[in-house]
Subunit: 294 residues, 2 copies
């Protein structure tokens, strides 16, 4: 398979699935690309916007000739998809997913995988707050990390997926599932939970105040509303499937917030100032590695 381009199937035509399709075509990474979505509406939208893919409305037919199958559905829906397709996959086919949690997806899928099929858990660290086939674009993964789970030496399928993801422009790192879930809990899951919460708090305010909050939304809050506009189903599944790491980080966060609350209450300005100086340093570290502008 190193010599010829693979046939690729993409299950789920949301932001990530449709971006994989666009990127695969854009970078010429596959011989054929087949796409399926369980929603007729989504399939119709994909057809209407001319998503560059062979659309198939039978999930088993979609994966039959595939060498690589991308599962780009909410993490809670992964196992159901695998149950439907597993006996239709070609010997040697590689299944890979794009879910934001990895421990739960592995626990769900591993028992279903047949001996002649490989499963490579994956997670592209890329996204926007938009959903659906029309949200996809070919450079979504460019210069973004794509995390794969497992041991590259023990599993040659990882190398195949790694090369494919690199063709889409991403930087691949291989790591352990539990470590992945812990890092993502603090970098992505908890920030989303907090953004959802504060925008919810604002939406519960009395009518006039709520309208003025929307009208005068300053940069802080406006950034939070963008994050809190992300796909509801996907995020429900993330929190239910990375509950342990999210709850652990949430507990630390809540303690730290209570510390600041007390500092404000007791007018301890030095405690506030010390923290605010420290947080600026984290930003500078991110700027130093080239991920944000100065």
């Amino acid at each position: 398979m190193a010599d010829k381009l693979p046939n690729v199937a993409v299950i789920g035509l949301g932001l990530i699935g449709s971006s994989i399709i666009c990127a695969t075509q854009y970078f010429g990474a596959a011989a054929t690309v087949t796409g399926f979505d369980a929603s007729k509406e989504v399939l119709l939208e994909a057809e209407k916007i001319g998503l560059p893919v062979n659309l198939v409305d039978d999930i088993r037919a979609a994966v039959r000739d595939a060498d690589i199958i991308f599962l780009a559905v909410p993490v809670g829906a992964m196992a159901g998809v695998v149950k439907k397709i597993i006996s239709n996959l070609k010997p040697g086919a590689i299944l890979t997913d794009t879910g934001s949690t990895k421990r739960s997806v592995i626990d769900d899928i591993n028992p279903l995988v047949l001996p002649h099929i490989s499963f490579v858990p994956g997670h592209p660290l890329a996204g926007t707050e938009f959903s659906g086939p029309s949200a996809g674009f070919p450079t979504l993964f460019k210069n973004h990390y794509w995390l794969l789970i497992g041991d590259e030496k023990a599993n040659s399928a990882i190398s195949v997926i790694k090369r494919f993801c690199e063709k889409l422009g991403s930087m691949v790192e291989v790591m352990d599932a539990n470590y992945h879930d812990k890092v993502l809990a603090i970098t992505s899951h908890l920030p989303h939970l907090i953004a959802f919460t504060i925008v919810g708090t604002a939406s519960d305010l009395e009518h006039d105040l709520k309208n003025d909050v929307i009208r005068f939304s300053a940069s802080g809050f406006r950034d939070f509303t963008r994050i809190a506009a992300s796909d509801p189903t996907m995020w429900r599944d993330v929190f239910l499937n990375n509950d342990e790491a999210v709850l652990e980080m949430l507990e630390r966060f809540t303690e730290d917030l209570a510390f600041l609350q007390k500092a404000i209450n007791q007018r301890e300005g030095d405690k506030l100032l010390n923290l605010f100086k420290r947080t600026g340093e984290i930003r500078r570290s991110i700027i130093d590695i080239g991920f944000a502008k100065e």
Copy 2:
């Protein structure tokens, strides 16, 4: 003063003060612009970058000929500045501030104002995470709200400041101080407090995990680090001076967060989904009024 351009003095040459200077020159809004900062270092930086202003190292001399004086210092430093300059102001001069909290600034400054001077509390809803004279730019206020406090009919000085701020490109709204502090507590102060907190939580993680959090910082966390890189002294003063409204909103937020924590713990996906659908609507409202892109 409606007929001729005013002499303007700006006290404090940070992001806001230096942007007022740049904007005033850019839009030709003043006859002269004088600038002062209590820090010799900041004055030198302003001189070095050629900030378009008459730099003066004596605060009393800086305000002597001014028709309008902008106080662009942290809210905790307002009263000290007013004490120094108040007896040097021309009869008819108008003092205005740019602080992010209004109730406390009014309580601090009103007792110091002399009968022949007007004070118009103000707050431009504009900013970036950068600080100092080199952070200023002439279009910072363009298409942003500039909130003024008071009763426009009872106080003609408000109209003068309103016209001036509009010349700098901003949209002016006149409102009550307590209402201002409540709206800002939820749109700006609480989001900043939360961003400072979560970035602080991350910076307390053990060394390797912290490094990977920085390396794999996804969009959620990265947005928070930008917010949490804002000027420490300014934000310490904001929380100490709008403590009542911030603590009230923080209490609501903490309750809402506990609700979600419980929902994750008890695997109540519907509760999560309902909230996440609701928060998307707030984003759409902000898009509808043209403050964010679809």
